[in-house]
Symmetry: C2
């Protein structure tokens, strides 16, 4: 997904190893969940979901969690068939089922129109890379 | 802060109670930290900081944490003197001291130019309010 979005292989290789380590216990305990679509047993599209701890906020005054959508990916041969849209609908329903009423994601340029069409809007988030470890 | 940014009193009252409950244990265990500036013993400006769990990401491939800046506020009589800028510099240095190299925040329209001037940039975050509890 990150390569598809223009990431450099070197940084991605480092991240992939770290992400795999990070993911393993969270898949096991269910704190990272999601959906995979398969065609004849082969995965062709997927979406990752988490509930992230967040201070109660005007957008969710009673709740200290937000849904987070990540790792949305559809294999190139399976694009333009609405699979990502279906995955997003499954994701939204799953958040609601788990009692969460506010969710965020970070969109690639390619993904942005899809999310906008489903009622997602840009936020005021800003970020900075600092001199610390990364 | 949220009222200053145009929030409705009713939603803010709910949130404030929930936030206070949420904050108490986190102030105690140090997971919410920050800086307060005072004038003759009275607080006049403050900034809240957290380290939030996040999957290793191209912007921080080795780390599973990001810094988060929240609740930046300067009392009206103390604005236009650079206090928020000083608080942000303290925040960035504190993140680096704690070994974090990537941080995020959500800016009000009023705060945005300050953060931009310090090298912060908008992200691709998007959000949606769902039918679940909030």
């Amino acid at each position: 997904m990150f390569r598809d979005a223009g990431g450099r292989d070197e940084a991605l290789a480092t991240m992939t190893g770290q992400f795999r380590e990070w993911l393993r216990p969270r898949l096991r305990d269910g704190s990272y969940f999601g959906f995979v679509m398969s065609d004849d047993g082969a995965p062709v599209a997927g979406i990752g979901l988490m509930l992230i701890d967040w201070p109660p906020h005007p957008a969710h005054p009673m709740q200290d969690k937000r849904g987070y959508v990540l790792n949305v990916f559809v294999e190139p041969d399976y694009r333009k068939r609405g699979l990502a849209r279906e995955l997003m609908k499954l994701a939204e329903a799953e958040f609601v089922r788990r009692g969460v009423g506010y969710a965020v994601l970070h969109a690639t340029a390619k993904g942005r129109p899809l999310y906008q069409g489903l009622g997602w809007n840009g936020t005021t988030e800003m970020a900075k890379t600092l001199d610390g470890e990364r």
